[in-house]
Symmetry: C2
Subunit: 133 residues, 2 copies
């Protein structure tokens, strides 16, 4: 399997663990050696494995873990690192996510996740962008 | 200068170009060979150099280009790739951004930018996260 496919498999494993609310699988997907960070929608950045995994335990074991699916992922290889840009589909909401991976011991592991809400569909938002960013 | 510092210099150059509304500098900061992507706050992902740079031209030359500053950047080296997590400060708003870089011809270039709004300060948002993500 090509690296690009392996990265997409790792990305899907992340969403599978999320959907199954599988804390052990989620913890195994994150890098052990590389410092990890995470930006949940609307949050400040979390830095460090302890803070990041605590946030995932809170989400997966919380009262309202969301039903989530991943759509339209594209993988971008950068040597021993890679990132995936994808759409996250939740009931009544659509998010966009970037998931960043590094190869540790031959396996692609998450080092960063950044997800955020989509205010409107399409790519014709120049005017809005001028205001928001 | 260490690579980590060089990545932070490239990250600051991005915000300097943004603040100066310098389209030529912005275009030079993005990778030439690696495929580039970009997620502006509230937008879907933009894919490809043409779409990404067109969005930046729209923002920088638009009627309301924001005054922006970068705070608290941290760089994460992953071989020939790297990412920076930082806070973006705008008048009346705070965003969180991840900027991804790749080394091309010895220079760190942007391959992806993902910025999103912060709903509330602090890192104690487990309850909210259970709802949002």
């Amino acid at each position: 399997m090509h690296d690009e496919q392996l990265v997409l498999v790792a990305n899907q494993a992340f969403y599978d663990a999320f959907a199954r609310r599988d804390v052990a699988a989620m913890e195994a997907l994150w890098a052990q050696r590389a410092p990890v960070t995470c930006v949940h929608p609307g949050w400040q950045a979390l830095r460090g494995r302890e803070a990041v995994l605590a946030s995932w335990r809170g989400i997966l074991q919380g009262p309202n873990p969301p039903d989530i699916g991943c759509a339209a992922p594209t993988a971008h290889l950068l040597g021993e690192a890679a990132f995936v840009v994808c759409t996250e589909r939740l009931p009544g909401a659509e998010l966009v996510a970037t998931n960043y991976f590094v190869r540790e011991d031959g396996t692609w592991k998450l080092v960063h996740h950044h997800a955020s809400g989509v205010a409107r569909a399409g790519e014709d938002s120049d005017e809005e962008s001028g205001l928001l960013h």
